[in-house]
């Protein structure tokens, strides 16, 4: 049971931090609840959006640390062509999937009998695309600058960047999603 104790001690703080940060992000959703619950496509796409942004955080973090240890990232990371390409590719994939989840959510809502207008479809798509793209940019800037910072300080970025990236992604996604719903609807 010594191993079980070790797992519990090492995992519990990270689990508590990750779940409470996500719940703090949920405050953004609670504040726009009256608007959120009447717009069915937003409810449908919310879990997929949350998962998707978390995944991009993990992808950016893990690729960055791998390249950092291989020595292919310069000290001034913003000059790296490799990182620029990574961000560009992740942004394009994010753009494609944010359109796809908007399309799926709108189609399912329509099948369920939810009344759709062109303006609503446009707003749902804009909110999804803006949330995704702004978070990918925010995540890239945070991960790359903090990654270099921790690496220079002698820390292993692998241990810090992924939890940090997923926490920023979860908290940021809900906060930005909630703010955009507030302004658009």
């Amino acid at each position: 049971m010594k191993n079980a104790k070790k797992i519990l001690i090492q995992s519990l703080p990270a689990l508590i931090l990750a779940s409470t940060l996500s719940s703090l992000g949920g405050i953004g959703l609670t504040l726009v609840k009256p608007k959120l619950i009447v717009i069915l496509p937003l409810v449908i796409l919310f879990p997929a959006l949350n998962d998707m942004i978390g995944d991009y955080g993990a992808i950016l973090g893990s690729k960055f640390t791998t390249w950092l240890y291989r020595g292919s990232i310069p000290t001034h990371w913003y000059r790296s062509k490799k990182l620029k390409n990574l961000v560009k590719n992740v942004l394009l994939i994010a753009l494609f999937y944010s359109f796809l989840i908007s399309f799926l959510a709108i189609s399912i809502s329509s099948i369920q009998g939810f009344p759709l207008t062109f303006s609503l479809i446009l707003k749902v798509t804009i909110v999804t695309v803006l949330t995704t793209l702004s978070l990918v940019i925010l995540l890239s800037l945070t991960i790359f600058s903090l990654g270099i910072f921790f690496y220079k300080k002698g820390f292993d970025p692998d241990n810090i960047l992924i939890p940090l990236a997923t926490s920023i992604a979860d908290f940021g996604a809900l906060a930005i999603f909630g703010t955009l719903i507030y302004f658009f609807f």
Binding site: I7, S19, S22, T30, L49, D55, K88, I93
Partner: protein
Amino acid sequence: MPIIIKNETLKFFVSRYLINIVRDLVSPYKPKQYIRDIFEGQIVSILGGILAGTILASRIENLQFLPGFFILLPGFLELQGCINSTLAARTGSLVHTKGVEKADGLKDYYVKVNLFSSFILSVVSSLILGIFILFLTLLILKKLVLQLVLVSFLSSLIVSLILIPLTLASSVWLYKRGYDPDNIMGAFLTSVTDIVSVIVLILVIKTIF
């Protein structure tokens, strides 16, 4: 004011970026493996998320009356996702290092440790999460909803009883069929955890309220 996209800009964007991405995806001669991997992994994850969202939307009229539900939901999904992903990662390491026979048997010491610790983690952290959400709801919505702790605890208990054995069994099943569980379990678990968690939350809330 309508947004006007100039034809030239669109042409430049399509030719410069989109065509390159599509070419990299379809070409067997110049593959950018990581782009392909991200694309494939995302499809499974997104479809699971959309299905969970559809289930959630179908019961939203009942759930909206529970104060603090939208604070509980993201934290609960994150918690279950983290517990099962770490269990999958540990099981992946176990099957790779000790072989599938060991991981397959419930009598194995490391399998028991993994199952036990994941279950305890789920129960303890869901209680802490429930208490945190109780205070957050009191602070933000000025409502004391003690049942939130019960919803978090009971839902986590039920989800763990379903997902912990499923995670272990599917990792072993994949390994036995020649797949690397590390490459598949992430996307699979993201989807399954969302769907199971949303269904269980709906059922528990319906039972308690």
